[in-house]
Amino acid sequence: MAAAGAAATDLEVMRGKRAALYFAAVAIVLGLPLWWKTTETYRAPLPYAQISGLNALQLRLMVPVTVVFTRESVPLDDQEKLPFTVVHEREIPLKYKMKIKCRFQKAYRRALDHEEEALSLSSVQEAEAMLAEPQQQLEGSLTVYIISEHSSLLPKDMMSYIGPTRTAVIRGLMHREAFNIIGRRIIQVAQAMSLTEDVLAAALADHLPEDKWSSDKRRPLKSSLGYEITFSLLNPDPKSHDVTWDIEGAVQRYVQPFLKALSVAGNFSVDSQILYYAALGVNPRFDPASSSYHLAAHSLPHVINPVEARLGSSATSLYPVLNFLLYVPELAHSPLYIQDKDGAPAATNAFHSPRWGGIMVYNVDPKAYNASGLPVRVEVDMVRVMEVFLAQLRLLFGIGQPHVPPKCLLSGPKSVGLMSWELDRLLWARSVENLATATTTLTSLAQLLDKISNIVIKDDVASEVYRAVAAVQKAAEELATGHLASAFLASQEAVTSSERAFFDPSLLHLLYFPDDQKFAIYIPLFLPMAVPILLSLVRIFLETRKSWTKSEKTD
């Protein structure tokens, strides 16, 4: 009986040991991985390798240039070598992680008959008018006509001419090394019309290390999908001035054509408003010499803030807003002039602030006061105002004066206010800027995910990242083949996708749990289960060790 009882308890003990072992096995083999898998943050797979590859991307900006030689421009034996293609490639020396190479692909050819005819007219403008019709030039491309050295198309001392559309005219040379010399001149003119180091440096200003603080680099607006332009008329003294302005007509006639020419660069929306009793925050000083009031240059920065609160520009859209204000000074402070740093009144009576907009002071003609009593009816001369506002708009966009080579005649802009190759320069700068921004955003996202371990990446965020990477690569390819318009669109898509991925609301890092709080949560759950298992494991281990030593002893 006792032996049977002992055998039964032995069996019980064995069963108990096996049960404890199985418990432990299930807990460790199944439970631990299950717990680990269910408590990790979900991260959809991202192309980390491709993102780090984007940083080492080599941007090759290709400008296709068509060079047309007329009959007497170069010596005959050189003319017989036509047509052929010359490539001029140069690396832009910027301290940026991406290498940027600028490549001018010059396709030399002989002039066609109608081109010869056009270029033998008397003035450049007529020649251009004749040449412009049949061609439709691609964005980013240039056409350079080489005329004979003694042609009278250009004025006597001018070597070259840059036109408002994407054409230029250069004097040829009857010389053995004609092609080399002309080639260098072509490069100079082409660089002025498309890409130079300062254009790219301005575009990449936010990404380059800050060692130069020139104001030119901080002036342009950042690239964005759209812009909102607001024209405001400020009338602080309605009792004396009854100001009306034909803003709708002016916008339709002068601003809309300009914006239509720029429409590739983004969506523009224009609004206008009139504000009464809106004063500038600064008191102008009276100058007895000219019996007028002056606003000193150092007080101009304080003018904008009190006015901005009343403009209401922030309520409308999420695009960056450009404000253009026309201020008609009060009767007590008329006429009002803006002084520049040297104390002389500014010719335009206007100033602008980078990334914000511009303000112009419109003085009422003193002759208007004689006629009737107050309020005096003031009709704003929209042409004068729009000339200043459009010039400020150009400056705010970064369309400035290019560095023209010496002895070069630069034609004035078309009636639209924008030359085609200025738009090209803007698109080049914007494409590079967009690519830089998209690359930085994607790299930052990858670095953030590395540093902060509890950010969740959902599938749609991952697909946006893939789309952004593909768009960056496509934009780089298009830039290398010289298709500027499609490269710009691809770069915009890259920026949009990368920003959407980075700023997705789901990426908020889960609230941080300090380590002691994590222990406090897990201990009441796991400890009651873990203690019996561990203790029984320890006991099993001790007993087996005892039985080994016992068996050794008996041996």
Binding site: G249, L300, N305, S314, L318, F503, P505, H509
Partner: protein, 395 residues
Amino acid sequence: MAAPHTTERAKTTLAGLLLLSVGSLAASHIEDQAEQFFRSGHTNNWAVLVCTSRFWFNYRHVANTLSVYRSVKRLGIPDSHIVLMLADDMACNPRNPKPATVFSHKNMELNVYGDDVEVDYRSYEVTVENFLRVLTGRIPPSTPRSKRLLSDDRSNILIYMTGHGGNGFLKFQDSEEITNIELADAFEQMWQKRRYNELLFIIDTCQGASMYERFYSPNIMALASSQVGEDSLSHQPDPAIGVHLMDRYTFYVLEFLEEINPASQTNMNDLFQVCPKSLCVSTPGHRTDLFQRDPRNVLITDFFGSVRKVEITTETISLQVDSETTVNRYKEDQVDEELTEPLKYAEQLPVAQIIHQKPKLKDWHPPGGFILGLWALIIMVFFKTYGVKHMKFIF
């Protein structure tokens, strides 16, 4: 014989004058460059002002935040660039003996709740999640523009937080907390996306210095009202209102800011000296190791004010004048006059619908989790006590 001598002297004096002028030109150029180098590179200013406490006895935290708001607005930052988060409404609180006012001085000298206060996040919208979303920019697309921090890489941001805090955390709304690690991570995310040029972080809570211990992103300067282990004390109670009106540190910061105008050249070192231990009882602290410029060269108005860079416009473009304008305009005026109709108000109160309202039939919903659980418990207890054999009497 004297002539060549004098010409020699003349030549040397001329050369000397030339050198002097060139030297002074070069010196002024270098000075210009040096001045530009020390100036901050920002083009706009933003401010995020957060009050995290609720309940009437935390009146002083709301007054703190509103006082800083008022100073910041006075120095030039517009409302569109200020994100103001107040966790409770003191001005319209039923316990406020002077409704629509929030005072910051004893004897009700200064009402900081003026006519033009714009609160962006109010009451229960002030949560840790919303605060982090504002900072990092991960805001749902339907958020209005006034609730967003639309800063860029050229913005200087001022962040002011006040409330009740402890070692490493700040309490929001008496129900949740933000830890210093979360705040540091949020600033790192802002830095990665270049959402700020420079950041000034001011915190007025107990043990405030613990909140800036963990920052690791560049260009951040931090000020706190007390060190770890110290409490920040309040300034003065008002017998008429019955609560403490301000905290000491913010009170003295405000006194300091009242003397600043948009053109002043006071720098950050003066702000660090505000509220010494004798006045504040706690020891204010600051952290500048992450900041690139020397605090001596940082102007107060770099963060508290909004000074724009302006340039005089010197160019114009020439436009062609169109002469067909006047005819079109007269036509438009006439058309406008014909189209105006008399305006009327829409019905404000649909009284008929309210008075003769029939009770709406509510849809039947199956019982929810709690009810089901309760009944399951009752049935289980019943069958445990009386045994399963009673089941057949039920069904």
